[in-house]
Subunit: 182 residues, 2 copies
């Protein structure tokens, strides 16, 4: 709190005046990120995409890029173990929104008749959520050197291959040759 106050150029007490608890700063932070990143607009864009495939891609992009952005807040909440705070409630709402978004994106695929035959809507939603669910982003970068962008890329290609019938490779021989699998 001292450091933040110093960085903001106000006294520590002025900070406590506006944010009585440290967690109140977190709530404000999530709202600030929401404003700056305009994630709701990007999600709306993903909702208005024409085809299910576009929609699912846009959804993964929007959330995949947003979640690491707010990961620090989730981590802070985790550290503080603050189960009932406004910040925690706001966070949990966000996460519920991801699940709902998964469901909507998959339903769009289903309406288009592009959902791979082996998946029910719920099954596919589960899988998509599995792919998108909040990761330990810092650790991911440290462990395997993947950038956030690369991870999103991989997730997207994985999701499309998995969920959409016609994203499965059409020309096996090309792939075999390219990957040196004889």
């Amino acid at each position: 709190m001292s450091d933040i106050a110093k960085a903001a150029g106000v006294s520590r007490q002025a900070l406590y005046l506006h944010f009585p608890k440290r967690s109140d700063l977190l709530v404000a932070t999530t709202r600030y990120i929401d404003d700056v990143k305009d994630v709701d607009a990007r999600l709306a864009a993903s909702r208005s995409a024409k085809t299910g495939v576009e929609r699912i891609g846009a959804f993964i992009d929007a959330w995949g890029n947003y979640i690491p952005e707010i990961y620090g807040v989730g981590k802070a909440l985790m550290i503080m173990g603050d189960k009932e705070s406004d910040a925690r409630i706001a966070w949990d709402d966000r996460m519920r929104a991801v699940r709902d978004g998964c469901h909507a994106a998959v339903r769009a695929l289903h309406r288009d008749g592009r959902l791979a035959a082996e998946h029910s809507v719920e099954h596919a939603t589960d899988f998509l959520w599995t792919l998108l669910s909040v990761r330990n982003w810092e650790q991911l970068t440290i462990d395997c050197g993947w950038s956030q962008a690369l991870y999103i890329e991989k997730t997207k290609s994985l999701a499309l291959r998995l969920l959409v019938d016609d994203f499965k490779p059409t020309n096996t021989k090309v792939h075999l040759a390219r990957n040196g699998l004889s």
Copy 2:
């Protein structure tokens, strides 16, 4: 530290005598979990599985069940931001071991000729690592109510469907009917 000392029935200073820093307690904890869970033995078992498919399944079981177990340690390290401590180094080694294990399991699939045609070994390893990489387990449970076991189950089925050619559904009509997709 006070609480731990109290729980252990020793004085706070006795604790500091054996573990001068809090992170030293973490190192000891990872070692304790290693001993109790005998994860290396389970990984060795996965390495000695006959077929690539068995091997990849055993690997996901072994690691998928172990990682959430030690997640608290990783979380503690993250909280402490302790980049050079013994505990952090031990943790990073563990994570490197997962990646190596992924690679070995996928190579076994490849040797058996069961790796799906569209994947190179590296590509498949990346995907498997994506699925297994350390998650925010607490958040996962809070967000979607999945147990750890259910998550492992989903990951395993996802990996097999994705990586192994003949795990892809053979009878599309059965799946369509079962999932009410007309």
